[in-house]
């Protein structure tokens, strides 16, 4: 698959909070000649952090493959709760990790997931502004609320541009991804504010999308 196509899929996966390692599997399929049984289980790209390898998603039976696509580690990991995504797969030692061009591509693709996270929060915020009544009218009628929706859109669009740029400029994909995560996060912040107190409750669940952006940022946002 073309990287940009994977990015489109990744954005949609982010929008629907797809919790399976779909996106990572698409990337692995782009990079490696993987055995079907590995693909079936879902492959997870990993990042080297200090002396550990960290994968962005929890998946039962994470497969760690080397540059040739051979499985170098395939073990069950302990179940993680949804809100506690890191560390997900910790494998000490000298495994070939995601680096160079592949790391750049992973940054571009997971930046796209973050844009999807901003998409869904904006969609929900618009729906909320249309339903929630205060002062005898839906709050969508207030310009302050309308401008927050516009700001959420502006940040989300900028985040998407940064994700696309990350896919084109591998040499600074870390900077682009960091911008995409920051902007996706900002977009979500506006969405939470539009929701008011309700947006701050666990039950409404906006934090899942924010969490996902924060988590992806810590894995793929680079050091800046």
């Amino acid at each position: 698959m073309e990287l940009r196509e994977i990015q489109e899929v990744a954005r949609t996966a982010g929008r629907f909070a797809v919790s399976t390692p779909l996106v990572a599997t698409l990337l692995a399929g782009r990079w490696f000649e993987l055995d079907q049984d590995v693909l079936d289980r879902g492959a997870v790209p990993i990042v080297r952090r200090d002396d550990r390898l960290v994968a962005p998603y929890y998946a039962d039976g994470v497969a760690i493959v080397d540059g040739a696509g051979a499985v170098v580690e395939s073990s069950g990991v302990e179940a993680a709760v949804f809100a506690d995504l890191v560390p997900l797969a910790l494998v000490p030692g000298e495994h070939p990790a995601l680096d160079g061009e592949r790391l750049a591509e992973a940054r571009a693709v997971f930046a796209a997931v973050a844009v999807g996270c901003a998409d869904i929060v904006l969609t929900r915020s618009i729906a909320w502004a249309q339903t929630r009544q205060q002062f005898g009218q839906p709050i969508k009628g207030f310009q302050a609320v309308r401008h927050m929706l516009a700001d959420a859109h502006i940040a989300r669009e900028q985040a998407w541009t940064a994700a696309i740029a990350a896919g084109h400029e591998a040499f600074r994909a870390d900077v682009w991804a960091a911008q995409a995560f920051t902007l996706a996060r900002r977009s979500i912040e506006f969405g939470i504010q539009v929701h008011g107190g309700v947006g701050y409750t666990w039950e409404v669940g906006l934090q899942h999308h924010l969490d996902q952006v924060l988590e992806l940022d810590s894995l793929f946002g680079g050091d800046r």
């Binding site: 310009q143 309308r146 859109h153 502006i154 669009e157 084109h168 911008q179």
Partner: protein, 374 residues
């Protein structure tokens, strides 16, 4: 689907051509001693720059070839602006003609209007201004009250326009005026190509908060426009103004502002007193993001998207970026560049106001892009 045009070897060759031409074309007195030039010299150089652009073939980069243009896309335009800015090229007076009047005439003009006006815009023998805003019609542009009264053979125009850049040098004005007092809003305006060299026109410069007098208020008293200088249908001027302006203004304006942002941020990065280099790096990153956003918008426009879906986001982006840059410039408290930053800080205050205030842009986004009914 991919934005590879920038990596295109043809784009690189074009960049080299522009860069070589600009280096050659900039007058030495401007390049080497701009600070020492008086206002008359600056004016003379700006005028000669319009002519140089025409002679060099850079006046109508994105105009179709059949109208004397080069038939290029916004990417070449962006490259031109980047290279001319790097070389500190002067700005001519012909900008409104090249960017607004020309594309409007190409899109909505009659064959006769195209033949008559386009060559004079390209060679800058006519300078254009834009008669849109009025004291009572700023953000609410459709509320213009300058009257166009139908008379034998044409119209008589009476009213006041404001924020009219280049009016003092202009021979033609893109005039939006109210041609009907009965028809409903948005269907009561007409768009004219008005001759500025006639009696009844009074141009008064407005002094700005940065001390410059770039724009004017212009009073029109019983000024004549012949029928053949009506553009688009009678009473359908609003549609002409909106479709053409929103489509043509976006990329070009964003490209010129990107270039301005580059100037400010590059200076910031090298400013002796900058104690927060990290902030300057962030601004550099945001400037690169703006550049890519222009490319992306260009790509989407080519794919048939309405320009306004990206145009409002771009407007907010470039204006806030430049304002943040000049604010940081003031914050450096740099003794060497103090006057420079004070001036550009004040100048940047206008950016969130003109070309549609940023509040209007946010309204457009919520109304027309997100489609949230009020």
């Amino acid at each position: 689907m991919t934005m590879t045009r920038f990596d295109d070897p043809a784009a690189d060759r074009f960049r080299a051509d522009v860069s070589a031409w600009v280096a050659e074309a900039i007058p030495a007195e401007w390049r080497d001693g701009r600070q020492a030039l008086g206002p008359d010299d600056v004016q003379r150089i700006q005028r000669s720059w319009d002519e140089a652009l025409f002679e060099g073939g850079f006046a109508g980069l994105s105009w179709p070839e059949e109208y004397g243009g080069r038939g290029f896309g916004p990417i070449e335009e962006l490259i031109y602006y980047e290279e001319s800015s790097k070389a500190n090229a002067p700005d001519g007076f012909g900008r409104i003609g090249r960017v607004l009047a020309g594309p409007t005439i190409i899109a909505a003009g009659t064959e006769q209007q195209k033949k008559k006006y386009l060559p004079r815009i390209l060679d800058a023998s006519e300078i254009w201004c834009q008669g849109f805003s009025e004291p009572g019609a700023g953000s609410d542009l459709a509320a213009v009250t300058t009257r166009a009264v139908k008379v034998d053979g044409g119209y008589r125009i009476t009213g006041q326009k404001i924020w009219t850049s280049f009016a003092q040098y202009s021979t033609r004005c893109l005039m939006l005026a109210k041609s009907s007092t009965e028809l409903p809003r948005h269907h009561n305006l007409s768009f004219f190509l008005l001759d500025m060299e006639q009696d009844g026109i009074d141009v008064r410069p407005i002094r700005q908060i940065n001390g410059e007098q770039e724009f004017n208020e212009v009073f029109f008293t019983d000024v004549f426009v012949p029928d053949e200088d009506l553009i688009g249908g009678e009473h359908e001027g609003w549609a002409v103004a909106m479709t053409v302006l929103s489509n043509e203004r976006g990329t070009t304006e964003a490209a010129t502002r990107l270039v301005e942002a580059t100037t400010e941020i590059d200076l910031l990065s090298s400013c002796c007193s900058l104690d927060k280099p990290h902030d300057a790096v962030r601004l550099q990153d945001r400037k690169e993001l703006l550049r890519w956003h222009i490319l992306r918008a260009t790509e989407e426009k080519a794919a048939g998207e309405d320009w306004f879906t990206a145009g409002s986001v771009l407007k907010v982006q470039w204006s806030e970026l430049i304002q943040d840059a000049t604010r940081l410039g003031i914050d450096t408290r740099c003794p060497i560049h103090r006057d420079y930053w004070r001036h550009s800080y004040l100048a940047s205050k206008a950016m969130s106001i003109y070309s549609g205030t940023n509040e209007i842009q946010r309204n457009i986004i919520t109304d027309r892009v997100l489609k949230v009914a009020r």
